[in-house]
């Protein structure tokens, strides 16, 4: 029985959540530091996971397996492949920044009814840690049921984070703001819960299928994959398709994929910037991750059957999200729609069924997490200064707060995936991967990068450049030390991973190869492959030896 690294990694933030919640009402700052410490400790453990993970090793590593609910064929099974490890690392990485950025989001506001048991600050940070714990488990779970449980359970803390802690100053006034907030929270929860319940039906169906063909029902992913591979696990085409849909719809809502996306703008718009980051950079990744891990692995035939439709929807997401981003008047909603566009890219890469596409999609999940975090958190700092989310209320910030503007620009450039910054690598891989199997789709998606430039630069121009017209802007302070400490590492990371993504991609690639073999797909071969990639020196320019010398 080796050391249960994954369990500990996931449990640590949970413990932190309890501890933070238990801090007395008066000691708000103490709670913050406690939460920060726990998140950092988790980051260390996640780093250990990444370090312990051997790219050339078994498919699932650091595995743990204990009996849990044998009646349901449920086991407590953890284990990470490269994809899971990378995303665990991402999660653990972002949470400290989220906490740091949200440092004052749950502070006491004057006029707030006080109660010895009412501890919003403690609650805020405890909930963040709770989400982290649940997300970590769902990235590590190799038991479908275990995954499902946390996939669903994480909605609850998210729900309280969205509904409970919105921006202080709301464009539509205080109580109207509260109304919209709880609307957003309920919409988020119901939307995802509905998806989850559809998935529940599919999960039960999976159990029935497996118990029919394997004798006793199991949810263990490795077992199911093995049974699938050697033909023990059989299901009728229609069953497989129905089950696939059950799973996919749930993930597509979480991801979110057009037309199931409408909860995201509300949620990200109403939540505070750190929570918005939590939603789009961490929680939503579970959806795309699950497509890669469960949909493709368990229902390969149905996946290929659905691919054309999914690709179509993904393309719609890419363009639709980008166009709506151009049309937004609210900074946070703009970022939300941008994210929808990016999730379109991710899903495109997943279902392109090429190693470039899927590696790209996985890297995209990580890089998009970082870049959106950078952009959104800076946007949050901006909004907290001016107390408005409307783009029109800004302008000329660059003059008074150059550092803020600079970091905002970097975040924006990462969002439009400028080469040299991390997202470029993943986006290009996705596009190449898509193009090599679906050229038309690849070209259409490429149009998305033009629109990306449009909405990012328009946003930057309207908020940061031009003359300072509004008095509120005049006195706007530049980034404080805490804020800089939050943003600088993210920017550095974006640059580093943009230049040197190799370590990450090496961890991811084997996992992708496994997934591709699950769906029995091979990369399309080039028409005129070049034998030796580095035959530089015997290169003669064409036309030279062409003999048409006079």
């Amino acid at each position: 029985m080796s050391f249960p690294l994954l369990t500990v990694t996931a449990a640590l933030p949970a413990v932190g959540a309890v501890a933070t919640a238990a801090v007395p009402a008066a000691k708000r700052t103490a709670a913050k530091w406690l939460a920060l410490v726990f998140s950092l400790a988790t980051l260390v453990l996640a780093a250990v996971v990444l370090a312990r993970f051997d790219p050339d090793g078994a498919r699932y590593q650091l595995t743990e397996s204990h009996a849990w609910i044998s009646d349901f064929g449920v086991r407590y099974e953890l284990g990470v492949d490269g994809i899971g490890a990378a995303l665990m690392a991402l999660t653990a990485l972002l949470i400290p920044f989220v906490i740091g950025a949200g440092w004052h989001d749950a502070d006491q506001v004057e006029g707030e009814p006080t109660h010895r048991r009412w501890r919003p600050t403690q609650g805020f940070f405890a909930l963040i840690l709770a989400v982290e714990a649940m997300v970590l488990v769902s990235f590590a779970a190799t038991d479908v049921f275990l995954f499902y449980i946390f996939f669903e359970a994480m909605l609850i803390p998210m729900y309280f984070l969205i509904g409970g802690f919105g921006d202080r100053a709301h464009a539509a006034g205080e109580e109207e703001g509260a109304k919209q907030r709880s609307y957003a929270a309920v919409k988020f929860l119901l939307y995802n819960l509905a998806g989850g319940l559809i998935m529940l039906a599919a999960v039960i169906g999976l159990f029935v299928v497996s118990s029919d063909s394997l004798g006793e029902g199991t949810f263990s992913l490795p077992e199911l994959l093995r049974a699938r591979a050697n033909g023990d696990l059989t299901m009728s085409t229609s069953t497989e398709r129905l089950l696939f849909l059950g799973f996919f719809v749930a993930f597509a809502i979480k991801a979110p994929l057009w037309p199931l996306h409408t909860w995201l703008p509300n949620a990200m718009g109403e939540a505070t910037a750190p929570v918005a980051v939590l939603i789009t950079a961490v929680v939503d990744k579970v959806g795309t991750f699950a497509m890669l891990r469960f949909c493709l692995g368990l229902f390969p035939n149905a996946s290929s059957w659905a691919t054309p439709v999914v690709i179509g929807l993904a393309l719609v997401s890419v363009l639709y999200g980008a166009l709506l981003a151009v049309g937004q008047r609210d900074i946070k909603r703009l970022v939300a729609y941008a994210s929808i566009s990016h999730f379109g890219f991710i899903i495109l890469g997943v279902f392109a069924m090429t190693s470039q596409g899927q590696s790209g999609a996985t890297l995209y999940m990580v890089f998009h997490g970082i870049s959106t975090a950078a952009l959104m958190l800076v946007a949050g700092f901006l909004i907290s200064r001016r107390g408005s989310r409307l783009i029109a209320d800004y302008g000329g910030v660059q003059k008074v707060a150059p550092v803020l503007a600079g970091t905002f620009l970097v975040g924006g450039l990462a969002t439009l995936s400028l080469p040299g910054l991390a997202p470029f690598v993943s986006e290009f891989l996705v596009l190449v991967g898509t193009y090599s199997r679906y050229p038309v789709a690849g070209i259409i998606a490429t149009a998305g990068i033009i629109l990306a430039a449009l909405y990012v630069l328009v946003l930057y121009q309207r908020t940061m450049t031009g003359p300072v017209r509004k008095p509120e802007i005049e006195g706007m302070p530049d980034l404080k030390v805490r804020e800089l400490a939050v943003v600088a590492p993210l920017v550095a990371l974006l640059l580093f991973l943009g230049v040197f993504p190799k370590p990450l991609s090496e961890i991811v690639n084997p996992a992708v190869e496994h997934t591709l073999s699950d769906v029995q797909k091979k990369d399309p071969k080039p028409q005129h492959p070049v034998a030796d990639h580095n035959k530089w020196f015997d290169y003669k320019p064409a036309g030279h030896g062409g003999g048409d010398h006079e």
Binding site: P259, V326, S359, H544
Partner: protein, 645 residues
Amino acid sequence: MIGLLVGVPLLGAAVLLCGGRRLDRTGHWLGTLLAAVSFAIGAALFASMLGEDAESRAMHSKLFSWVPVEGFQADVAFQLDQLSMTFVLLITGVGTLIHLYSVGYMEHDPGRRRFFGYLNLFLAAMLLLVLADNYLLLYVGWEGVGLASYLLIGFWQHKPTAATAAKKAFIVNRVGDAGLAIAIFLMFTTFGTFAFAPVLSSAGDASEGQLTAIGLMLLLAACGKSAQVPLQSWLGDAMEGPTPVSALIHAATMVTAGVYLITRSGAIFNGAPDAQLVVVVVGAVTLLFGAIVGCAKDDIKKALAGSTMSQIGYMILAAGLGPIGYAFAIMHLVTHGFFKAGLFLGAGSVMHGMNDEVDMRRYGGLRKYMPVTFVTFGLGYLAIIGFPGLSGFFSKDQIIEAAFAKGGTEGWILGAVTLLGAAITAYYMTRVMLMTFFGEERWRQAPTPSPAEPDVEPAAETRGEHAEPHPHESPKVMTIPMIVLAFGSVFAGGIFKAGDSFVNWLEPVTAFEHGHSPVSATTVTAATVVSLVIGVGAAWFQYGRKPVPVVAPRGNLLTRAARRDLLQDDFNHVVLVSGGTHLTRSLVYVDHKVVDGAVNGTAATFGGLSGRLRRLQNGFARSYAVSMFGGAAVLIAATLLMRAV
């Protein structure tokens, strides 16, 4: 060693941009120094390269593997051959001079450190572009220079026009970049790689259709970066940037990247004559387009911008001619780099002395106030119009020759176009010259509202001075670079031409064939000179003899159209901008009403249903009893029915 070329200026950029205020007082010198260092490195490499014999001059160095995914192998690796070397020297050389110039030009600007940071960033990106050994890395440099140009055009961000121009430049370029991306996809699916060596060496294996597709996509990229029709509209607005930027990026180096790309990909184009034809056509059209626009502009920088467009048209055209043209394209590129940079610096010097007045109608008779500028500008002028003996003469003459050499009617048409272009060039450059340095001193006349065209916007508020200008010569730090460039403008062409040294130098990379021109070289030269004289004459006739009105005359239709960039922007506005705006607006509506409406609708439906159903619960025990009784009846009936069926 090669890595250092890129690394040094990159380091400079990093230091200057992150360094903070403490570098404000020394930053510009640091930036200039680093630019000089990279030039030195380039020169050293050049020397060592000359040591080798022609065939084995190319160097190659791989730094590390960048994005390895199965078949998709992208390295960070550099390749330095004669073609790259030419660019390296041009970029670092001219770059260093312009750094030096900017020290003086930006003296009073609060953001000077940032400015030099951006300049260094540009150098790094541009060097990466020309040194990359594969298309993906080239793409990085490609967008890198785009970013630098975005930052520098919008350097005076408080000017809305500048911010808009910068945004426009980036987005238009993004369209081209998309083309380059797709070209890379095509190469990957065709050859399984996108490194220069393997792709170009095995280009022959691919079908013509594939090569044509790749070629057209590359051309699209080139159009974006080199401001060729139909993606030329950004260059004029890009003049919102500080003048050194216009000189370095939008005249000497970046905008010529398209020419580099096509020349570099020669092997592909050689296999795709259709693509080549398109290239030639684009070049020819732009050549005239730019020239015509250049004639109508009163803003000195925009006039020069038009000329740049047109000159690059020459280069693209030459590159489109294939092996007979590549070398000349590059040669013209280099000479153009010298004299156009010189002209822009001259323009900058003039503006410097005229409180940043850019409207040539408010100049006049400046030659006695700023002699150095006058002389250097004049030499550049002579070079560009192709005055025999100066560098422009040689390079352009060769291109015209090659154009005829294309053979057939195509050859005749192209030759005619190029000659016409030469004439117009002579016309508008003479116009600039006359309006600026000759005639009476119009700036003394009371400032009247500037002409109605939106694109001629006086940049006078950049430093907020509106006093009557006192024209004066610029400081040494500015004049020296101008002088150096003037030398280049005069002698470069001759040196290159001497013994076809330049062609031989490039030949191992780009290959070279002698074109078989239907008309003899001397005839062509003669024709060139004639057209030159015509152009100059016409200009003198119009602007030299009679005084130039301060307020531009309404002018004929063509003039007015040309002032508005031949309505290109209006077209964009109507078709793209407003169309896009409507699209997004309607989509926002759809998203809210339809997609989201469906969701909320479902919720509302259940709510209404609930409201109706609960009315059944009317509180009367007897009605409850009725429902029970009915229920029982139904239960029985159903059970019996089940048995019956």
